[in-house]
């Protein structure tokens, strides 16, 4: 009986100390993590919408988006955060759209847990740059092992077709919903 009490007390004690230590570490690191996330968001928005100088958070068709303006106050495009399932987990994207919503102006990956070196390469410039200036009508498509021919096509990463396909599917889904189709 005494032993059982000791077991409970010791384990509780360790859990309490652990919780306390982690709270302190969390309080210390959280401002940095929040700052990182905001900086990432800002960087991603300015990367996907060229000539953007400021942005404002808005909502349309149930989607959060950022309206981007240049220094003289003209709308130069929209940044649309999107997410969906990849090969191994959730992929979070930032899609840049032209003011007429017909052209993708850029793409950034905010978060992904795809296989490093394979699906993980969806975060690389060489893959993302393909999306600059492609048309989203009727929808974005991907091709395998050959050069894209149409203005709405991109080339999938060799060995990571599922991750590439997921990115394209997420883009199409969110652009459709954003347009209200």
């Amino acid at each position: 009986m005494q032993n059982r009490a000791k077991m409970i007390i010791i384990l509780t004690l360790f859990a309490l100390v652990s919780g306390l230590v982690l709270s302190v570490v969390y309080l210390f690191s959280n401002p940095f993590i929040q700052k990182n996330m905001l900086a990432e968001q800002k960087k991603a928005i300015f990367a996907v919408v060229p000539n953007a100088n400021s942005y404002e958070e808005k909502e349309k068709n149930g989607l959060k988006y950022f309206e981007c303006k240049d220094s003289s106050g003209n709308v130069v495009g929209y940044a649309l955060p999107a997410k969906g399932n990849g090969y191994q987990g959730e992929i979070k994207l930032m899609i840049g759209l032209s003011p007429d919503l017909k052209t993708i102006t850029g793409l950034e990956v905010l978060e992904q847990v795809e296989t490093p070196g394979l699906g993980g390469r969806i975060s690389e410039e060489s893959f993302l740059n393909q999306f600059k200036g492609i048309k989203d009508e009727p929808q974005v498509e991907y091709v395998k092992n050959k050069k894209p021919e149409k203005p709405n096509q991109i080339k999938a990463i060799t060995g990571a077709t599922i991750s590439s396909r997921s990115v394209v599917a997420i883009i199409n889904k969110f652009i459709k919903q954003f347009k209200g189709e």
Binding site: I10, A15, V21, L22, S29, G89, P116
Partner: protein, 211 residues
């Protein structure tokens, strides 16, 4: 005194070769095989394990006499999980890119059997100094092996080492080296090479005794 020093040196160095966690104990295979697609991933994963293993081994060794043996495993896990969460938050706050590259494998250090293995087999039975050396040696041995494994796969799969180009255009990158089979192949060759070297060393030593 000389014995003490020899014992300390042994506990520190055994992790690199004679008791290498990957090549001899064959523990922690999940991160070993999954994250070693590049040398930098191997290095980061290794350093995270160095911190978690060293810190948790020291704490476990310090409190080893007050923990009732029936609840030692949950207590160890609480201690290990605390340090892992600290590493995870630290990487997210200061090295976001690396944190993103390693994805879920940092939180998964909690269930890495090298850590619990060292806690159970060594830190819960030895004093703080020896536990510290043991943890440091084993985790650094783990790190070196991961860098080697990641380096081989990165060179053959992407022609780079730590991001620097090392092989020319004439070499066709072997995509398979970046895929799971590449990890198994490389690890298999490494295990084989280690056994071969050990046998050669033994023969050499045996030969000398015979003369």
């Amino acid at each position: 005194m000389a014995d003490d020093r020899r014992r300390s040196a042994y506990e520190l160095l055994k992790g690199f070769w004679t008791e290498n966690p990957i090549l001899v104990m064959v523990l922690g295979m999940c991160p070993t095989l999954a994250v070693t697609t590049s040398a930098i991933n191997g290095l980061t994963m290794g350093l995270a394990v160095v911190f978690v293993l060293t810190a948790s081994s020291v704490i476990i060794s310090l409190v080893r006499n007050i923990i009732p043996k029936e609840v030692r495993i949950p207590t160890f896990i609480v201690i290990i999980a605390t340090f892992v969460t600290m590493v995870d938050l630290f990487l997210k706050a200061f090295f976001l890119d690396l944190s993103k590259a390693l994805g879920p494998f940092i939180p998964l250090i909690v269930v890495n059997c090298i850590i619990l293995g060292r806690a159970e087999a060594f830190a819960s039975k030895n004093n703080v100094w020896l536990s510290f050396l043991d943890a440091l040696g084993v985790s650094l041995g783990f790190t070196v092996t991961l860098i080697f494994l990641g380096g081989v796969r990165e060179i053959l799969g992407m022609r780079t080492f730590f991001g620097m180009k090392v092989l020319g255009k004439g070499f066709e990158p072997m995509i398979i080296m970046l895929l799971p089979p590449g990890a198994f192949l490389t690890l298999g060759f490494m295990l084989g090479a280690k056994n071969l070297i050990d046998r050669k060393l033994k023969e050499k030593r045996g030969g000398k005794v015979g003369h």
